[in-house]
Amino acid sequence: MKTFVGIDLGSTTTKAVLLDEECKVIGHGITNSRSNYATAAHVASQEAHVDGQFTLFRRALTDAHARIELDTFLGALERAFRLEQFLEQLDDLEQTCIGQIRGERFAKVESGVKDSLGEVFRRLRREAPELYAPGAKRKSDFFRDIAGSRYHTHAEEVAREANLPYDLLLNVYDKSIIEVENRPPTGKLSDKFRRALARVLTTEPSIKSAAADIQKMIDGALAVDLEETYLVGTGYGRVTLPFSKEHIRSEILCHGLGAHLMYPQTHTVLDIGGQDTKGIQIDADGIVTNFQMNDRCAAGCGRYLGYIADEMNMGLHELGPMAVKSDKPARINSTCTVFAGAELRDRLSLGEKREDILAGLHRAIILRAISIISRSGGVTNEFTFTGGVAKNEAAVRELRKVIQENYGEVTININPDSIYTGALGAAEFARRAHLGQADGSEQ
């Protein structure tokens, strides 16, 4: 089947969305942006394909009325698939590490290091299934985060046991991880799915009876070629996007179109990201009619909250919940990042409560954002709020208030998948481009 890929390269994460010919989302993918945009784009896209594959499985199994608990099965299959992916990348990491054992440093200990490395990876492989057991918590889904901390633990032990300097093992890892991370997984997806399915069929006795049916349906779904018909990229790193010009669309246009696809009635989109704030007006077809961004000064963007969190020695995600506790927000007039720290200390020293200051800060950010919206033409119809700050409950609460105060009753949409808004718009641009409308218009 034909699929259309939209990729949104952000400064921290890269998102991908896979659309089918009917403009239905069949897969989402996300990865860290790394230092290598080409890999990030590739990985995100592959993740979206994986997700798309699950959508196809679900469709196939649902259509066939398979006599199994669908969510349990698909959950198990996904864990098994992730495990397969993890093992494959471990293999890659091991080979790469071995390749790094060279030079003067290793002159006398080469074979010892090799053996120890072998032992470290044996242990990593042995415990891998636990990482993907039902209910297991992983601190991240990115390979470098999962593999890194476990490698360190095992390497330290093994080095001690083998009486080898630990830093030798650390050295080969450090030299290898970036390389591995920047090398997209090579194995065929369908092979990994088959291996994963085999694993599930052996470990999940409950579905044994339906094994043959399931095998057939999965094979059928895997046989469908998710052909990447057209791809469009967008995002903050657009200037260095690894695509040719006809495959690139402005992030603002993608964002507007993405919001339109999520909420066809929306006319106004606010995006508060880490680096910038965008106010976008779109027409009934999702075409951008006006956009405004914060000017040179980045006051009031997501990054501002980051500074505040650092200054208060809190996690970024803790700010919102604390601010919500306030019933008397402080009046804060400046969202200047440069002065944020000083203003905060001044207020704390005057005895103002943390939650009141935080509530005031959230309000200040929203006021600034709404003035950008006002600059772009105000709020005329449904309003859609996206970006990292849309996940912050205190910011959302203030936004509702300020919109109400200035524009009256307006529907405010916040989509849990809002992080994919830009990628969704890009995917739709890809679909339209393929339909022979390179200009991106609908008929």
Binding site: E251, R296, S441
Partner: protein, 439 residues
């Protein structure tokens, strides 16, 4: 405040810059002017410093004075990439980071030896002709220079067109200032007696060159436009906004330029860019606001790489608005100078400026308005967001907004500007496609 005039400098560019013949000619004129200026100590010529908007070059010439324009010098310093260090120098000696960088570039340049683009020292001015037109900063600028040079300073106050019209009271006030203050003071400084017939002669010459300038600027109504009326336009306005209005040189230059442009027009050619002939014209824009000079070529490139050509701009009207009929009139010499000063772009109130931009978008069949908002220049910048809204509303064409500064390299963020420009161009594409689909 801001000024036009760009000319290629001695700094060797990375790649050979493509110039048309008029540009070469203009470069020679400018070089000759700088040589005359810097030779003043030897020739005994006296020097008047003044501003581009409200530049009374014809009057200055009546007293055999050389015209030195600090705004133009600041632009030179921007193009030669030395303005950044001058601005820092001025800030170091107590000038606020908040204020106009033309002023700071000028003051920093003085602090560092006052070296002209030809490498020789600028002469101290013998008189500061404070033609206070359309920009508050001018007044403080020359008060600052007066402190330094301790020379005679003449204020000519141009009232603002707050109600969008020139009144009899305004003209009388200005003529009276010219007669009773400006001219006597210039006579005193120069020791040359004022001859009104000499002024008439110069004014007659001005009008001639102005005719050709307008022809050149209006050639952009053609599709494709043979000129870029902003980046290229800045070259075209150099002589007439600077020290050449009222001279035979200016007449020759503008005739030459007109013929060159008419030739391109006849051949259906687009503008010449520093990288050669521009490709297919894809977008036609009207631009409001001055350019950035420290990254002038990089900024321009963002346009021509995308096939965007500027068909009209307000910046090419800061030293005089000629395309709605005004010409210097030798039959009423002092009144015409007053009218000229009153009419410069930044002395017009916001409704007038909006009318002009709307007119440009319509008359030049532009795809929309782009505003380059300059941190230094509140005269231009304050209110531009409302102007943008109004022009959009009245023309139905999309507008966009970017920010930079005249000669402060700290305020030019290439990635940021490029991002917005590209979004804007794609938005125009979308709108067109939408319109085509609806049609």
């Amino acid at each position: 405040m801001t000024t036009p005039t760009k000319f290629v400098t001695s700094r060797a560019p990375a790649k050979e810059v493509i110039k048309d013949a008029s540009m070469v000619k203009q470069k020679e004129m400018m070089a000759a002017h700088y040589d005359r200026l810097t030779s003043a100590p030897e020739t005994g010529d006296k020097v008047a410093a003044t501003f581009v908007p409200g530049n009374l070059n014809e009057l200055i010439m009546c007293f055999d004075l050389l015209n030195n324009l600090p705004e133009v010098n600041a632009i030179q310093n921007g193009l030669r990439r030395v303005s950044g260090s001058y601005v820092l120098e001025a800030e170091k000696i107590g000038h606020s980071e908040d204020v106009c960088t033309y002023v700071k570039s000028d003051i920093g340049m003085m602090a560092k030896g006052n070296i002209a683009p030809n490498g020789r020292k600028f002469p101290d001015p013998d008189v500061l002709l404070l033609s206070y037109t359309g920009c508050f900063t001018f007044m403080k600028w020359f008060e600052l220079l007066r402190e330094q040079y301790k020379c005679e300073t003449i204020m000519l106050h141009t009232p603002y067109m707050g109600d969008g019209k020139i009144t009899k009271n305004m003209i009388e006030y200005m003529v009276k200032q010219l007669k009773d203050e400006v001219i006597p003071a210039l006579e005193r400084v120069s020791e040359v007696k004022f001859d009104i017939d000499r002024l008439r002669e110069y004014l007659k010459k001005s009008a001639k060159a102005e005719d050709d300038l307008v022809r050149v600027l209006q050639s952009a109504k053609a599709k494709p436009s043979p000129i870029d009326a902003y980046f290229g336009g800045i070259y075209y306005i150099g002589p007439i906004f600077g020290a050449f209005r009222g001279t035979q040189d200016a007449i020759d230059y503008y005739r030459f330029l007109r013929e060159e442009v008419e030739d391109r027009l006849a051949k259906g050619q687009g503008p010449v860019t520093p990288d050669g002939d521009m490709g297919k014209e894809k977008y036609r824009l009207v631009v409001e606001g001055p350019p950035n000079y420290t990254s002038f070529r990089q900024f321009w490139k963002m346009f021509y790489d995308e096939g965007a050509v500027v068909v009209a701009s307000s910046y090419t009207k800061v030293g005089g608005v000629y395309d709605f009929g005004f010409r210097h009139d030798p039959d009423k010499p002092l009144e015409t100078l007053a009218e000229y000063c009153l009419g410069v772009y930044t002395n017009r109130n916001l409704p007038m400026r909006i009318d002009m931009l709307v007119n440009y978008v319509n008359e030049y069949e532009a795809d929309g308005l782009l505003i380059n908002s300059i941190k230094s220049c509140n005269s231009f910048s304050a209110g531009q967001l409302l102007m943008m809204r109004e022009v959009e509303k009245r023309t139905g064409k999309p507008a966009a907004f970017v920010e930079s500064d005249l000669v402060d390299p700290r305020y030019f963020s290439a990635a940021n500007i490029k991002n917005r420009l590209e979004s804007y161009f794609q938005m125009i594409d979308q709108k067109r496609a939408g319109a085509d689909a609806a049609a």
